[in-house]
């Protein structure tokens, strides 16, 4: 087997409790009912934690059940590190027109830790705690941060912007070797109709619903320490082509967000999951993945 061109990324997934972080990871690892037209060729979970993700997807999500809340590990070193290899069909990159891959495949190797939501909601509030420092130390390994926000939780914009502010400040103070990072703001649960209709205008949608988060991210980007981009996704996806409806059974809906389970596991096809990872790996947006 010859070695294919590949890009690597070390990612930390952060966000509120119930934002859909574990569901995102499990759906990505499971990659159910893949579309033959999708630029994604395969997704292979690597090692036992990758397999555990798939088991979660099969035993819980696919049974129409809800995932349990992810436990907050006492030490960041105990947090499961999910490793995935994503193989994409080749594409033409307009940004780097010399970098033509043609029909060749491209590999993305991602190592990804799904932090319990408590990291974002609680730990960041207690400055100077050894647990927080331990997690921040772990975050320094990351080349990319995926900040997952339930697209329906717009009432929490200010709260999230404050927590994000604390995160970025703390990270800045922990990092002595100023490396550049990519932060992807990913709006989850975009199968909800008001989000779905704008799913291809991620930046617009983010700005409209979470103006304070976006303004904080923009000023961070202006400091020159990294770049920011915006994405939409759904771990559950839609049902139907012409009259699509969300593939979910609603458990609760409020201004703080949505909780739901998969309605029809047989037709479960998530969307938008790979685009932020491709961007974190390469720094480019993938035209085809964005059309997902």
């Amino acid at each position: 087997m010859t070695e294919l061109p590949s890009s690597n990324a070390v990612v930390r997934v952060i966000g509120d409790r119930g934002a859909g972080k574990t569901a995102y990871m499990a759906s990505l690892a499971r990659w159910p009912n893949a579309d033959a037209k999708s630029p994604v060729q395969t997704i292979i979970p690597i090692g036992e934690s990758g397999e555990e993700l798939v088991a979660k997807a099969q035993n819980i999500l696919e049974q129409g059940l809800q995932l349990e809340a992810t436990r907050l590990d006492a030490n960041a070193i105990d947090v499961k590190d999910y490793t995935l290899r994503i193989t994409l069909k080749g594409q033409f990159s307009w940004k780097k027109s010399h970098f033509r891959i043609g029909s060749q495949l491209v590999n993305l190797n991602v190592s990804c830790k799904d932090y319990a939501g408590e990291f974002f909601t609680d730990l960041l509030q207690i400055s100077g705690s050894s647990q927080l420092e331990d997690y921040l130390e772990d975050c320094l390994q990351a080349t990319g941060i995926m900040f997952l926000v339930d697209g329906n939780s717009n009432r929490k914009d200010k709260e999230y912007a404050n927590a994000l502010d604390k995160f970025l400040t703390a990270l800045d103070r922990t990092d002595i070797s100023v490396g550049t990072r990519r932060i992807a703001l990913v709006l989850t649960k975009c199968e909800q109709s008001e989000l779905w209709i704008n799913r291809h205008k991620a930046s617009f949608l983010a700005d409209a619903r979470f103006p304070q988060i976006c303004s904080r991210l923009k000023s961070w980007q202006q400091m020159g320490v990294g770049s920011v981009d915006y994405f939409t996704c759904s771990a559950f996806g839609m049902l139907g082509q012409n009259y699509p409806e969300p593939n979910m059974s609603l458990i609760s809906r409020g201004p703080d967000g949505v909780t739901a389970v998969i309605k029809d596991p047989k037709r479960w096809r998530p969307f938008g999951l790979v685009a932020p990872i491709y961007w974190i790996c390469t720094g480019d947006r993938h035209q085809e993945l964005d059309k997902d």
């Binding site: 409790r17 119930g18 006492a74 190592s111």
Partner: protein, 696 residues
């Protein structure tokens, strides 16, 4: 508290909670325990971390599951019972909540159970606040276990597998009693009651499923028990965390290395270690060629911890001769440099031992250059054992010769397999060294040439090609000083003749002029003849990479006037950086001075004096005394029988120098003089140590 009372402690999963009309909801985990009546003992904490109490996700029911287990070893043993019930968070998600009860000692599960049932089967409740010191007490006098279903003890359960009970057949006390009966050596008492699913069902003796469906799930899970389970003394999760921590960071945390080194000292077998690395994706990374920095570090770590994998590591990393280091190799070297420590030395040496037969027998898979990449790059972890490796080969070649000399062909001298063929052919090798061509050893010749161990290189050229390339020969010559001997480990070196060689020979041996001219003509013509016949085809094969050569003048000055024909390779002073002998550049001069004939003779005669003085007073063998001296000077690897070899002289001089520095600071010169303070101190120490331990 009376003596018949036992203390029952407790703690629970830590959450932030909010009261609701029908109880409470969780607002999130704290990552710590709460409602503790004492600090959680480490043995219990590690058992929980190893998922020994964990029910599988989504499987806790309203009717709590109960897990009983005895944890810990030696004095530190605890009876622990976990009650697992389902809670909810404010978003409506289900969460498994654990409340643990525990008691010191391994015989108290029955008591904890009796107390718990007595107390109305307490389960997780964040509002039942407990504080340190507020433990429960239970009077155990006169209480016998009640309500045991006698027929449970008649159940057959002699297999090593967990006993899976029929759902709802047996109660909790009976489940515990069956586990007590079924105590196995490698699994302490352990049972699970009313469970829907368990993360590691194979870690239980008796499992009592909550339902028929649970029975089926558990039965399937037991059938899928991993082939290789963690050895009893291994803290598997700590090992996994350590491996994960090391592969994920470019900075190596020493405490993580220590976790691995400690585990390696215990009962770990290779198959088990493989499961740990495969759990992090090692097998897939090799198969799918996944070269992320994490995977490069993982496979590098595996090559250190599991020496058998070193070849796979080199092939995977694609170390090729003459190529610039690629990104992955750089990541690997950086990691090796950061992780290397003496505690890993044995493993590193083993790795080289695994590689040598491959180098000999599978030259297409592995080249001398990639072996050099391990032993010659100072950033490489394996560089640490370079000296031992060279010494071992050198000692073995010496043994082969010694054995040959003493005609003890049958004697087993514990040779490594890779040198067996030399031993088997020793009579031919030593009678006519140019007649033998053990071609496979050419890779050793190249490797030692890269390592600048030219004597060893020459030896292997001689036995693989029947002659030594002229540049190697010259280097041997320069390295060994002005000795005219061209014999190494009893093997006569036959150089490829050229005018330069002739010059060296003639410079040393005073030859009458009338001999020089005809000799030159003979050499020249025969050289032309041989050259025209063989050189074209042979030299291209035997050519040695010269790009790594450097000046070897620093070892040039030695004067080997001894009659013993053997030498071992001269050592580069700059590479003498093992833990015992670190010589500063400024002090090199002193060492060189100490090994000069006139000074070194003082050392050897001083040692002879010490030996004879001691033998006057007690009956003891010479070599026992020499061994004591070696021990005191901290040079266990010195071969005193070959003290005329430059390398051994150097070792001894350095050791004396270090000894002098340590005890007589200002007078360090690297050699011994009879009657001096140093001499007397050494003699006294030998005497003392012989008195402490009666010689055989």
């Amino acid at each position: 508290m009376s003596s018949s009372e036992i203390k029952i402690h407790e703690f629970s999963t830590g959450i932030r909670q909010r009261k609701t009309d029908d109880g409470w909801v969780s607002l999130g985990f704290t990552g710590k325990y709460m409602n503790m009546t004492m600090e959680v003992p480490e043995a219990i904490e590690r058992s929980i971390a190893n998922r020994e109490f964990a029910v599988s996700e989504g499987s806790s029911s309203d009717n709590p599951a109960v897990i009983g287990r005895v944890v810990g070893t030696g004095e530190d043993v605890w009876s622990v019972m976990a009650v697992v019930s389902r809670g909810r968070d404010e978003k409506g998600r289900s969460v498994s909540m654990y409340r643990y009860f525990f008691c010191e000692g391994g015989e108290n599960l029955r008591q904890i159970l009796a107390w718990w049932e007595n107390k109305g089967k307490l389960k997780f409740d964040p509002f039942q606040i407990r504080h340190i010191g507020e433990f429960n007490t239970f009077d155990v006098t006169g209480k016998t276990p009640i309500g045991i279903q006698k027929n449970i003890l008649n159940l057959s359960c002699n297999t090593n597998e967990p006993k899976l009970l029929e759902p709802k057949e047996y109660d909790l006390q009976s489940t515990n009693e069956l586990a007590l009966k079924k105590v196995e050596q490698d699994k302490g008492i352990s049972w699970a009651y009313n469970v829907e699913g368990l993360e590691k069902p194979w870690l239980f003796q008796v499992i009592n499923p909550a339902s028929e469906k649970a029975y089926q799930i558990l039965e399937k899970a037991i059938k899928n028990t991993p082939q290789i389970l963690a050895p009893v003394l291994i803290d598997e999760e700590a090992m996994k965390s350590a491996i994960r921590g090391l592969m994920n960071s470019s900075q190596v945390k020493r405490e993580l290395v220590d976790v691995i080194v400690d585990a390696l000292k215990k009962d770990t077998n290779v198959e088990y270690l493989h499961t740990l690395f495969d759990a992090q994706g090692a097998k897939t990374a090799i198969k799918q060629k996944i070269y992320s920095p994490q995977m490069v570090r993982l496979i590098t770590l595996r090559a250190i911890v599991i020496p058998e994998t070193i070849l796979e590591f080199l092939i995977w990393l694609n170390v090729k001769p003459g190529k610039k280091l690629d990104e992955n190799q750089t990541v690997s070297l950086e990691f090796q440099k950061a992780i290397v420590s003496d505690s890993l030395k044995d493993k590193l040496i083993d790795g080289i031992k695994f590689l040598l037969p491959e180098l000999l027998n599978h030259p297409l898979q592995i080249s001398p250059e990639s072996t050099y990449w391990l032993l010659g790059e100072s950033e490489s972890a394996w560089y640490l054992c370079r000296r031992e490796f060279i010494q071992e080969i050198s000692d073995n070649l010496q043994s082969i010769y010694d054995n040959h000399k003493s005609h003890q062909k049958q004697k087993n001298i514990g040779l490594p397999e890779v040198l067996r063929k030399i031993a088997n052919n020793s009579s031919r090798i030593y009678s006519n060294s140019s007649s033998i061509q053990l071609e496979e050893y050419i890779n050793f010749a190249k490797l030692f040439s890269d390592l600048k161990e030219y004597s060893l290189s020459a030896y292997f050229y001689q036995i693989s090609r029947g002659k030594v390339p002229k540049d190697i020969f010259q280097k041997v010559y320069l390295q060994r000083g002005s000795s005219s001997k061209t014999t190494i480990y009893g093997l006569k070196l036959k150089p490829e003749i050229s005018w330069i060689i002739l010059y060296f020979i003639l410079q040393e041996v005073i030859v009458p002029f009338y001999v020089v001219i005809p000799l030159s003509i003979i050499f020249f013509t025969s050289g032309l003849f041989i050259g025209s016949k063989f050189l074209g085809q042979q030299f291209s094969k035997t050519q040695v990479p010269t790009n790594k050569e450097q000046s070897i003048s620093q070892t040039k000055g030695s004067n080997d006037a001894d009659n013993t024909p053997e030498t071992i390779p001269g050592r580069d002073i700059g590479s003498l950086n093992n833990s015992t002998a670190k010589i500063k550049t400024d002090d090199k001069q002193l060492i060189e001075n100490a090994i000069k004939e006139e000074n070194f003779n003082k050392t050897t005669s001083s040692i002879a004096k010490i030996v004879s003085k001691i033998k006057n007073n007690r009956s003891v063998e010479d070599d026992i005394i020499i061994n004591k001296i070696k021990q005191i000077l901290n040079i266990s690897d010195l071969n005193y029988a070959r003290i005329d070899d430059e390398s051994e002289r150097m070792k001894l001089a350095e050791a004396i120098y270090n000894y002098q520095k340590q005890y007589f600071d200002n007078k360090a010169n690297g050699y011994l003089t009879e009657g001096t303070e140093v001499f007397i101190s050494l003699q006294e120490k030998v005497n003392q140590s012989l008195s402490n331990k009666k010689p055989k």
